[in-house]
Symmetry: C2
Subunit: 690 residues, 2 copies
C-alpha cells in the first residue's frame, strides 16, 4: 500500500489538468477521494471518476483528511497570473506554504497537496509545493522537475505551442520532430538591445533566477526565510548578474547599462515578450517604447503606491547609507557595519519579512518591478495583468530588468564606498605567490576562450494539457563555450603546508570607447568564474581546474537534460541531475566575446584560508553553485565579504588592476573568440570534450 | 460516387487541422491523394493516412489534379496573421481567388481547395474559399458557416479557450456547461470609452463588417470587384455605423466621436483586445494610452509609407473635393457629379482596383488602419504583427476605428456640402401625406422602445483544434430590444393607386450637452431603421411593419443559431439561416437608450417610387440587408443617393428637423428605455414575441 515519496512529483505533471486525470507516461493516477473533487466536477463525480479510472491505471492511494481551510487561496483566481513581487500573492503563498509544511507526515502532506491541486492557482500551487518539498525533512532530497518542463509557457515563444499540439496529435511519439524556437523571436537587431537577448532570454539564466527565489522565499515560517547572509547574497548575486550582463554588452558593441534612476522620464527600452500564459490563456503584456511610469492603484491586486513613495524610500535609504546607520522599527539607530551593513541593506532592499523597518524603507526593489510591470495599466482600467518584469521567473528577459538592477547595485555601491579600502595586508597571503596562470583547451591557442551557438532540446510535453502523451521537444539555440582548464602555478615559500582559497575572476580590459578600463570601474565588471580550496605544499604547486567544476554553475544537464541518452522520462525517476537547480547555467559561464576576440583580464588570487574558512559540515549538500546560492540551511561557505576582493572602493593610489595586485594575485590577458555557427548538442558535446 | 456540393463546407471545420484529419461529428474525411500531402507529412504518409483513415469514416473522393502552382501563397506563413488591409495580403488572396474561381467544375474546385488547405495561411484560405464559393455559379447558394464558429479566436476573450479545452476533455458532450464570456473583459468603466464596448465588441457587428468585405473584395477578377455603386456604399455603410455609434455614445453620457485628423498627436484611446490568434498562437498586440503614430517601414509586409504620404493624399482629396473634380490616371479632370461623385470618392477612399488614380490619391483609409495597427512596432524591429484595427474582422472592436471613420466621414461630408440642398420639390410626393406615426410593442407604452441584455450561445467547437468533438458553447451577453411595430398612416390624396418608398430613420433629439440638436448635426446621426415599398390606395392607408422585417438587418438566428432547438450541428446541414451573412445584426437595431429614457425622433418619409425605383429581378436573392450590403450581382435597389433624404447639407432656412419636413414626412418623439437586466435567450425570446 505504501509507495515512495516520489509519488508527490506526479503533481508536477500537467499541473493545470484536474488532479483525477491520470499522470505520466506510466499511467498512474491519484486515487482521489470523491469528497476532494471541486464543485465543478462533483455533480458528475461518478461519471468522471469512472471515466478516468481506467483499469490499467496504477493507483496512488490518497488518505482522506480534513484539510485546514484554504479558502483564502481563492483570492487569486485559478486562471490568473501569479507573482512573488505582489505582496498579496506573497501573503497567500506564505499561508499555503505554512499549511503544507505543517502537515505531520508525508502521507498527510501528499493528501493535502492533492486536495489543494484543483483549488489553488496552478502557478502559486507549484511554487508553494516546491518550497514545501525543499524545506520538509521528509522530502527535501527529492529532485524537483525543472520549471521549464512544468510551465514551458514561461520560457518559450507562444507560437511553439500550437505547433507542439499539432505534432503531438498528428505524429506518433517517436517520429516527432523537435520544434525549433527561433533564436531571434522577440525582436530583430534593428533593436540595439536585442543584441543581448540571447543572454536575457536564456533558459538557464531564467531558471536560475526562479530557483534562487525558491531557495530564498520572501515569506513563510521564519526558519525558512531567515538564512545566513541572505541580504548580502541578494546584493552579490545581482551584482554578478550585472557584471556579466555588462560584459555581454561590451562584447556586442553596446555601452554599459544606464542605471534607471529617473522614474519620471519615458523609458526607451521596449519589450515584447511573445509569451502566453497557458494557465491564464492570456498573453503577457508588452511594453512599447517610451512608456511612462505612473502611480499604481490596483485594488484587485491590493497594490497602491505612488512614484513619490518610491522616491521617499530611496531617499531614506541613501540617507541611511550616508549617515552610516539605519533606523529600525523600534526607532533605534543601527550602525551599518563594515561586515554586516550590506546584509542589512540587502534585507531592506529585498523587503522580505527580515526587513528591519518596512514602514520607513518600504519595498523599493519589488515596487520598482511592480510599477514597471503595470506601466501599461497602472489603475487596472484595462483589466490587464503584469508584464514579465513583474514575475521572478520571467523578469530577466526584459532589458529594463538590468537598468533597474543597475540602480539597485548603485545603492549597494554607495554603501560599499563608505567602507575602508582593503589594505595590502588584508589582501596578501604571506609567502604565497602566484607565479603563472593560463587557460588551455582542446585545439585552441593558450589563453583563448571559444564560444559558439549550440542547440539543445527540452521536453515540453508535461506542459501541454490534454494532448497525447510522449515527448514533444522544443529546440533552443543558446550560447556555449569550449570547455577549458585553468593552470595555476603557486609558489608556497613557507616551509609548511598551507591552505588557500583560489578565487578566479575575469573582466574586460577596455571600456565601450575602447579605452583602458580604470580599476574603479573594472572591479564592478569582474565576474566570478570559480572559487575553491587549495592545499599548498611548500614550493611550487601546479593547480589544474576544469571549467565545469565552477563554484557558481550547475551542470549543463540540469538545464538541458540529455534526452537522446534515453534517460527516464517518468517524472519520479529523474535522478540527481535536477536536484538543487539554483545556480548559474554552465553554458553561460563565459561571455560571448567577439569574432575578433574580446580582450579580457583573467585574475587569480590565493587568499589565506584562515580568514576565509567557515566551520561546518556540508556533507550531502549541494554545493555546486554555493557562491550564488549559498548552501541550504548552512552558513555561506566563505567568511569574506561576498565579491572579495573586488567589493571595496580601491585606495587613491590604485588606478589599474595591476596596481591592485599583491603577490598572491596574478592576471593574464585572455581573448574570448566567438564563432557564429550553430552546433547540435551531440556534435558540440563530442567535439568539445577536453 | 458523386456527392453533394455541400461537402466543400467540411473545409470550414477546424481549418488549422491538416486536411486528412476526419471532419465533422459524422466522421467524414477527404480521401486525400498521397501526392497532396505536404512535405512535413509525406515522409510518414502511409502511417498517417492509415492512422486517420479509420474504417468507420465516410470518404469524400478527391480527384487528383495537377493544380496550378500556388507557391506564391507561401509568402504569407501558415502561422502568421492575415489582413485585407495589407496590399501584399490582398494581392496574394486575389491570386488565389482567381485560381479557385477558374477551376472548371465543382469537382476540380473541391480538389484544388483540398490541395491548398495545408499550404495556405488558414485565415487567408478561408477568406479566399469564401469569396470563391460566394462568386462561383456552382456553389453560390451554399450556406457559409459564420466566421465566429470557424475562427472563434477573433471574436472572444482568449481566456475562454483554455476553459473550453478543459471542458471538452473532461466533461462528456451533453453535460458540458456553456463558458460565459464576461461582458466587461477588455476594460472596466474606469475607461470612459469602455461604456460603449458592448457595441464595439458585439459579435454580430463584427461579423457584419467581415461579411461586407467578403461581398466587396478589394481585388480579384474585375467582374467580382466591380459592383454597382460600390464606392458610394462604402461611404454610406460606414456613415451609418458612425451615426449608430454616436447615438450609442449619447446614450452612455459620452460626447460625439472626435474625428482623428491630427495624426501627429498622441492618441489617448487605448485598446487591449485580449484576443489570441489560435492559428498564429500569438496574442493580438495592444495599444496603450498616448501612443504616437510613426512612419511605417516593414519590408516583410511590403509596407512602407510616411505619415506625410497620408497627409499628401488627404490634401489632394480635399483639393479634388473643393475644386469639384479629380484627376484620373490618364491626367484627365473628371467632374465629381451630383449623383456619381460620391461613388468616385468612395472608390478612391477604399483604394480597391477601381480607384481612378492610386498614384495621386493613394490608399488613405487602409493606410490609416495600417499605421494604427503598427503603432507599437512601425519598423518591425520587435517582430510584432498588426493589432485588431488592422484586420476588418476585428477592427470595429477598437475605439480608434470610430475616430478614424469619423474622419473618413468628414471627407465625404465635405463633398456632400458642395452639392445643392434638396429642394422641397425633390423631397415631396405630391398629394401624399403622412398623417400619423407611432411605435407599439407588447406591454410597453406607445412610442417607447425597450432594450435589455440577453445571453446567447455560440458553438466554438469547430475552432478548437484537436479536442474531443461535440458542442462547446461560449455564452455572450449582448444588447437586445423588445420587438415592436411601426404604425404609419398615409393619406393618398391622389385619386389613383400610388407606389411609395417608406423610409424610416431615428435620431437623437438633444446633443451631448442636453441642448436641442441643430438639424445640420442631427441629419448625420439619423440611423436608418428600415426602407420598403408601399402600395398606396387612394385615401387613408394603414401601414404596419414589424421591426424584424428591417431592410438593414439580418435575422437574429444568423448571428446566434438557436442551439437549443436541436438544429443540425453538421456543417453541411446548416440551412438558409447562415446564407448571406452580410447585414446589421437584428439585436443591435436599436441603440441602448438610458434608464430614464433616451429622447429620440422617429422619422418616416414616403418618397415617390418613380424616382426611387431600379428595374431588376431580385428573385431568389438575399435582400434582407440590401440597404447596407446591396444585392449580390445586382444594382443597388434604390435610385436615390444613399442616405436620402439626409445626405445633403440643408438649406439656410432649415435649422430644425421639423423645418425640413414636407407633407410626405412626419416625426414623432420616441423614448428608448434601457433595463439593466440580463435575460437568457429562451426567456428573452418567449417574453418578447409581439
Amino acid at each position: 500500500m505504501s509507495r515512495g515519496v516520489t509519488d508527490i512529483l506526479y503533481l508536477y505533471d500537467r499541473p493545470a489538468e484536474p488532479v483525477f486525470v491520470p499522470r505520466g507516461d506510466n499511467k498512474v493516477a491519484f486515487d482521489v477521494p470523491a469528497s476532494y473533487l471541486t464543485d465543478h466536477y462533483r455533480s458528475n463525480a461518478v461519471e468522471i471518476l469512472s471515466r478516468f479510472g481506467e483499469a490499467d491505471v496504477e493507483k496512488i492511494p490518497i488518505k482522506e483528511l480534513t484539510i485546514p481551510s484554504i479558502d483564502f487561496a481563492s483570492q487569486l483566481g485559478r486562471r490568473e497570473n501569479f507573482s512573488l513581487f505582489i505582496p498579496k500573492h506573497r501573503r497567500l503563498a506564505g499561508r499555503l506554504v505554512e499549511i503544507l509544511l505543517g502537515m505531520r507526515t508525508y502521507e498527510d502532506f501528499l493528501s493535502a497537496s492533492v486536495f489543494c491541486h484543483d483549488r489553488v492557482n496552478p502557478y502559486m500551487y507549484i511554487y508553494c509545493l516546491s518550497v514545501a518539498i525543499l524545506h520538509r525533512s521528509d522530502t527535501q532530497n527529492l529532485p524537483l522537475p525543472t520549471l521549464c518542463e512544468v510551465f514551458p509557457d514561461k520560457y518559450m515563444d507562444s507560437a511553439v505551442f500550437v505547433q507542439a499540439r499539432d505534432e503531438a496529435n498528428i505524429v506518433p511519439a517517436g517520429s516527432r520532430v523537435p520544434i525549433e524556437i527561433p533564436r531571434d523571436y522577440t525582436a530583430s537587431d534593428l533593436d540595439e538591445e536585442h543584441r543581448v537577448a540571447y543572454f536575457r532570454e536564456d533558459l538557464g539564466i531564467n531558471l536560475h533566477h526562479w530557483h534562487w527565489h525558491l531557495v530564498y522565499p520572501f515569506t513563510g515560517p521564519r526558519q525558512v526565510v531567515r538564512k545566513d547572509r541572505r541580504g548580502e547574497l541578494l546584493y552579490y548575486m545581482h551584482q554578478q548578474i550585472m557584471a556579466r550582463y555588462n560584459c555581454e554588452r561590451f562584447c556586442n558593441n553596446l555601452s554599459r547599462v544606464k542605471k534607471w534612476n529617473n522614474w519620471r522620464e519615458p523609458i526607451p527600452e521596449a519589450y515584447f515578450p511573445k509569451l502566453d500564459s497557458l494557465v491564464a490563456s492570456r498573453a503577457w503584456p508588452a511594453r512599447p517604447s517610451n512608456s511612462v511610469l505612473r502611480d499604481v492603484n490596483r485594488p484587485v491586486d491590493e497594490v497602491q503606491f505612488d512614484i513619490q513613495d518610491m522616491e521617499r524610500w530611496r531617499d531614506r535609504l541613501f540617507e541611511a547609507i550616508q549617515t552610516g546607520a539605519i533606523q529600525n522599527d523600534r526607532g533605534e539607530r543601527v550602525q551599518l557595519t563594515e561586515m554586516g551593513g550590506i546584509d542589512v541593506l540587502g534585507d531592506i532592499m529585498e523587503a522580505s519579512i527580515l526587513s528591519p523597518n518596512m514602514n520607513l524603507y518600504g519595498d523599493l526593489h519589488n515596487f520598482m518591478h511592480l510599477a514597471l510591470s503595470y506601466i501599461h495599466d497602472p489603475d487596472h482600467r484595462y483589466l490587464e495583468s503584469f508584464s514579465p518584469i513583474g514575475d521572478p521567473s520571467t523578469a530577466m528577459r526584459d532589458p529594463i530588468f538590468y537598468r533597474l538592477h543597475q540602480y539597485v547595485e548603485e545603492v549597494f555601491q554607495q554603501h560599499k564606498r563608505t567602507l575602508p579600502s582593503y589594505s595590502p595586508q588584508q589582501l596578501m597571503y604571506s609567502n604565497v605567490k602566484v607565479t603563472a596562470i593560463s587557460i588551455t583547451s582542446n585545439n585552441q591557442p593558450n589563453n583563448t576562450l571559444s564560444t559558439f551557438w549550440q542547440q539543445s532540446d527540452v521536453d515540453m510535453s508535461r506542459g501541454l494539457d490534454f494532448t497525447p502523451r510522449g515527448s514533444v521537444l522544443a529546440r533552443f539555440t543558446h550560447l556555449q563555450h569550449v570547455p577549458f582548464v585553468y593552470n595555476i602555478e603557486v609558489d608556497n615559500q613557507n616551509n609548511q603546508n598551507k591552505i588557500g582559497t583560489c578565487r578566479i575572476f575575469m573582466g574586460p580590459k577596455t571600456d565601450e570607447r575602447g579605452l583602458p578600463m580604470p580599476f574603479r570601474d573594472q572591479k564592478n565588471f569582474m565576474i566570478e568564474l570559480d572559487k575553491f580550496t587549495v592545499n599548498l605544499k611548500p614550493g611550487k604547486n601546479q593547480i589544474r581546474r576544469r571549467s565545469d567544476e565552477s563554484n557558481i554553475t550547475i551542470p549543463f544537464e540540469r538545464t538541458f537534460r540529455n534526452l537522446e541518452a534515453g534517460r527516464p522520462t517518468d517524472i519520479t525517476q529523474l535522478d540527481e541531475f535536477n536536484y538543487c537547480g539554483c545556480g548559474w547555467p554552465q553554458h553561460m559561464l563565459i561571455p560571448k566575446g567577439t569574432k575578433e576576440g574580446f580582450p579580457s583580464a583573467l585574475f587569480v588570487m590565493i587568499s589565506n584560508f584562515d580568514d576565509d574558512k567557515v566551520e561546518q559540515d556540508v556533507q550531502g549538500q549541494c554545493v555546486n553553485a554555493a557562491s550564488y546560492c549559498g548552501i541550504r540551511n548552512k552558513k555561506y561557505p566563505d567568511a569574506r565579504p561576498m565579491g572579495f576582493p573586488f567589493d571595496r572602493w580601491p585606495g587613491d593610489e590604485v588606478n589599474t588592476l595591476s596596481q591592485f595586485l599583491t603577490e598572491n594575485m596574478r592576471t593574464v590577458d585572455v581573448t574570448i573568440r566567438h564563432t557564429n555557427t550553430v552546433l547540435k548538442r551531440s556534435i558540440a558535446v563530442s567535439e568539445n570534450n577536453v
